[in-house]
Symmetry: C2
Subunit: 446 residues, 2 copies
């Protein structure tokens, strides 16, 4: 055509997902979503693009540099959302009168950050958020913790340990240490512990305060013990019992009463980088691969709505980082058995003029819950079998050349045929095969 | 806090979706997706943001004005996708070696266009696309037509009629009429028939050609008849049988053989505005509300990949406009019965210190497939019943104040209680209630 060809490529840090990857991603988000719904959480959706003022209202300089921001054709200063929490706060403030509180919502959606791309970091990625707004109770904190555990179990990544801390209690400790004015810097420094190591954190803390106080902070965050002894240490370090320490005690009682306390640990080193947390903060690590970092994190943020409303509402929530979770599953080789198709069978083509009858048969199978591909070219049967195999389809139905109401069922895996099946026998064979596969799949994911 | 408050509002043409709306949207997209999977179509995903050159390669001036385009922090000229077809063509060209053809894909995702907002037009909206790439056959055209029918039936909008035409045959007719050089303008003018009326279209066509030819074009597109007689007229007008007319004949045979021909009509007035169609073009109208326009449209586009590759691949596909479909369902009052929650029941709170035991019970219900909300404040029972009703939750489980393993089940609808139920009895009652609701829901959506 004489046209100059355009090189087909995506932007740096952005990704296409081919069918096998996308099926795996959808399987995971569907499992997560089923879990959220099981906890009676409701879905909402918000725009990808918002006024920059809304998104950057409280964010620091780093976020501002990372955001995709531009002026639209109407002269508005707009930006792509960089997380789901800030738009959610705006959503609650805007629709407050239409919502019933406590409001429990989930949202699984893409967010965009123009950060430097490194291994496992993308400029477009998916977050899976769940939050309770309008309840400042141990029960709400506890429900979010339980959902974190449930979400990770659901995904088949094996056991996880959820590390819990309390921002308020940490602040009380810093206040007693008379370094409260350096709170934000100290929190961010401690947050780097696993990245830069104890010595460097000590040096940084000593510069912020002095070496004695740096040592006290490190002793606090280094403490190892069970929930009760850790809480005793924290209570003392904070100068006695406070509503915050009693909240942690009640949460622990709930964990014990529900028989799930084994998956949780009270860990004074968890701080979370973000400034907006006010209560519990939590991170979760896969027992089989803790080094990959937290795959689900969150906490309580009781003042986030203050940007938009004179009457803020308390909130607590967490987010599964889908991309990191998938990276973990891949490292643990838990995705190898993933399916390549949703199709249970394919209908071979032996007569290209019979397309109408082929689809009529396929419609009957689909109505019986059997997803069916229909091939459209009368290639050699062996070629069609290879095509099915390549697509991960185990069963191929071969019609008779004469168009009789009787079919051959080819098992691609065992290379065997069953001949002369009626429609009812076809449906029965494929339904029982589907049930066997499902049972095997369920067993494999346990 | 002395801070200036930020007004929480979304951009013009953008929307939040509250839970009831979002549940309805998800119910619809889940049904559509189940249908696509049943036809063995595979999901893919592509970035929201692409190089502008990729997206605007072949688009005309109107598209360019509507696109959200900007320069990113790395100095790249980028834009938000305005449809799913162009990125899909780029995707196929880029991953050609990794795909098995014919490649059948679906994608349900947001697209963005900065067009003037009018009723029912948004700047962010959802498209549900399904396409077959790498097959230029009547069977592939037919499969897409069948899926259009299936998609609309699935959504509960009642019967639809799918109008089919063939771009190639239309072009042959224009060639015979010696106005082939005005092809694009004539197509676009005819496409406006339902909007601006016959007289105005005649005037425009007469300006483009002459009044005799304008009359001939209008006679062609105005023809009303069954498939066979319409095809005879078109064949004659195009100067005899062509591969295009025989394709339409074979598609019709397939429709008859599959017993679905009643839902399809051959309609010479369907042209589709877009330039890239080369074969069949189709639009579908709800029989109960044809005036809302086409809710699912598509066609064959055999040269779309030519922008990126010297060896283009044939393609055929269609797209459900989710927002227009929902507008239709709302006008037809088919969404009134939509559910407000995924929760089957709520667990009332009679003792705030019992949160652990409450969640332990809820976990057992959830494991049995019963989605369960847990209330966290020991308000008066009546208040908790009202809260459940407001949320659309029919059943409330009331624990005994003493924590005994026996519960009261409150039916919010009938305001009756069943007392002293064991866990097994609770699960049984809620499971059978769920099955009754499901059967009623299935019956209502038929």
């Amino acid at each position: 055509m004489g046209l100059k060809l355009i090189t087909p490529k995506v932007l740096k840090g952005f990704r296409d997902f081919l069918p096998a990857q996308e099926i795996m991603r959808r399987d995971l988000t569907e499992k997560l979503e089923a879990g959220f719904r099981n906890f009676a959480f409701l879905p909402i959706d918000t725009p990808a693009l918002e006024y920059t003022e809304i998104l950057l209202g409280k964010a620091g300089g780093e976020t501002e540099k990372q955001v995709y921001r531009f002026t639209d054709n109407g002269g508005r200063d707009v930006a792509l959302r960089f997380d789901l929490t800030v738009p959610f706060a705006r959503f609650v403030a805007e629709h407050r009168a239409e919502l019933s509180f406590p409001f429990k919502r989930y949202q699984i959606a893409k967010v965009w950050r123009g950060e430097n791309t490194q291994k496992g970091r993308y400029r477009e990625f998916t977050q899976c958020d769940f939050d309770i707004i309008g309840a400042d109770s141990a029960a709400a904190d506890f429900e979010i913790l339980l959902m974190m555990k449930n979400a990770l179990e659901t995904c088949g990544a094996g056991d996880a340990t959820i590390h819990v801390n309390h921002r308020g209690l940490f602040n009380s400790f810093l206040k007693k240490l008379c370094v409260e004015d350096k709170r934000v810097e100290i929190l961010r420094t401690v947050d780097k512990l696993s990245k830069i190591g104890r010595e460097e954190v000590f040096a940084l803390l000593a510069t912020l305060t002095d070496s004695e106080k740096a040592e006290a902070v490190l002793q606090f965050v280094d403490f190892k013990g069970d929930w009760d002894s850790t809480l005793r240490m924290m209570r003392e370090a904070a100068g006695g019992a406070t509503p915050d320490s009693e909240r942690l005690a009640l949460i622990h009682q709930f964990l014990v009463d529900a028989g799930v306390e084994g998956a949780f640990t009270l860990d004074p080193s968890i701080t979370r980088g973000l400034d907006y947390y006010t209560g519990i903060v939590c991170e979760s690590f896969l027992n089989a691969l803790p080094t990959i970092g937290s795959v689900c994190s969150g906490g309580r943020y009781d003042r986030l709505l203050a940007l938009y409303s004179k009457e803020p509402l308390p909130g607590v929530g967490a987010s599964v980082g889908l991309d990191r979770l998938i990276a973990a599953l891949e490292t643990l080789e838990k995705t190898a058995a993933a399916r390549k198709t949703y199709a249970a069978c394919a209908l071979a083509c032996v007569d290209e003029a019979a397309g109408g009858r082929y689809q009529a048969l396929a419609l009957k199978l689909r109505a019986a819950g059997i997803a069916c591909d229909v091939f459209d070219e009368a290639k050699k049967l062996l070629t069609q079998f290879v095509m099915a195999e390549k697509r991960g389809i185990r069963w191929v139905i071969v019609p008779s050349a004469e168009g009789a109401a009787s079919w051959t069922l080819r098992d691609i895996r065992t290379r065997t045929n069953r001949e002369g099946l009626s429609l009812a026998e076809l449906i029965e064979a494929l339904t029982s095969a589907k049930e066997t596969e499902k049972a095997a799949g369920d067993a494999a994911s346990l």
